[in-house]
Amino acid sequence: MLRTALLVAGKDLRIEWRSKVGMVQVLPFAMAVLVLFAFALDGNRSTLRDVTPGLAWIAMLLSLLLGVQRAFGPETVDGALDALRLSGLEPAGVFLGKAAALAAQLLALGTLLGIGVALFYGPDAPGVGGWVVLVTTVVVATTGLAAVGTIYGALSAGIRVRDTLLPILVLPVVMPVLIAATRAVEASLGIRAELTDAWPWVGLLAVFTLAYTALGLLAFGPLLEET
């Protein structure tokens, strides 16, 4: 399974590296979302600082949709999905590989978004404990988002209206991530909460991530067959 995951993740990341869609489309889109929020909130720096975590995660969720579409686009554009089904690759390995590649792209995007947030919204820098919470939250949450995105990306891959269907399927499901990740990051930055308040939210994110990873490992085979 690990060998399959590495093979698929390597292929997906190589395709992304070649196409540069993440760099030239998804990142500018996410940055534009941040800037638009800044304009909408009238540039009030204290307000911006307070809402920073939520806005950053909304930008991440919207970028996730583009990332998922991008992850499954190459599988559908020339019929590679059929070849994948006939390749004999373990579906659980394919799921892990695609989710890992998506998570890696989201982590890179999250890092760059964080820099953008610091520039646009100017939140106070966290302490060491805050950094630990912040990094843990981002890693766990993006992994969970990648797991959900991979499941629903496969589910919608063979559907003609997938581009419009995907947000309807994914956004309600990732609401717990939006809430928990926002609260955890707020606590890491000392916004309306103490640092210790963050860990229950991180725990919730971990449960969410484990649950959807397990679901993906079990369900990806039937999903691929039915797509």
Binding site: K11, R14, G79, D82, L86, S87, G88, E225
Partner: protein, 227 residues
């Protein structure tokens, strides 16, 4: 002769339309069977049923001793399908595509390179992104990926489409060599003049039913060039 494909009264619905309306046919090992018939006759559906990619609603369908209801994964690595689409990743080079599909099915690098060379994708051409290749060169790359699998059953849907004369000759040689090596080939084609020289048997489909079944009077496989 051992049955490689054994369909009995197989019915496949596409939506509510019976794309196969009760097909009964047995294809033995080492046959090179051409499917002919007008558009919508059910040729593509028959090929996809044999690959385990479509469910049937009635009858039986066994391929290489496996019930097709078990899905494509049950037939993986033993069956190779080339449909209307090529199943390639456009952002990867021809060689990278072969590397991915080759590693997926356990073909060695030597087998992958030999398959590319057999289809005339060599040198710098193999290092060009598939999305920048001509339609014929993409088809050659897809055929190379299929050949590297060395499947027991080749399922080809209009494989000559887009190929120039040299490409068609190379494909014909490849198919003859596969049959001599013990594989079975089923191909759908409208290019009847060319495939008549290849076929050991011709099935005619109309309206989702087999209405004609002719054996070649001589063995074209033994008379042709080897690849």
């Amino acid at each position: 002769m051992e049955a490689v494909v054994d369909l009995h009264d197989a019915v496949v619905l596409l939506g509510r339309f019976p794309a196969l309306a009760g097909v009964t046919v047995t294809i033995g090992a080492g046959e090179l069977v051409v499917l002919r018939g007008p558009n919508g006759a059910g040729k593509t559906t028959l090929l996809r049923l044999c690959a385990g990619l479509l469910p049937r609603v009635r009858g039986t369908a066994t391929v290489l001793g496996v019930d097709t209801e078990h899905g494509a994964r049950a037939l993986a690595r033993r069956v190779g399908l080339l449909g209307h689409r090529n199943g390639l990743y456009e952002d990867l080079t021809a060689r990278e595509n072969l590397r991915f599909w080759g590693r997926a099915i356990g073909a060695s690098r030597a087998e992958q390179d030999a398959a590319l060379a057999a289809l005339g994708i060599e040198g710098r051409l193999a290092e060009v992104a598939v999305g920048r290749l001509s339609a014929g060169q993409r088809r050659r790359t897809a055929l190379a990926a299929l050949a590297a699998r060395r499947p027991e059953l080749w399922l080809l849907d209009e494989p000559h489409t887009g190929l120039d004369t040299d490409g068609r000759d190379r494909l014909d040689g490849l198919l003859r060599a596969a049959v001599v090596a013990g594989a079975t080939v089923v191909l759908a084609s409208h290019d009847l003049d060319r495939v008549a020289a290849l076929a050991t048997r011709t099935l005619t489909l109309v309206g989702g039913r087999v209405v004609g079944d002719e054996l070649a009077s001589v063995s074209p496989v033994e008379g042709g060039d080897q690849c």
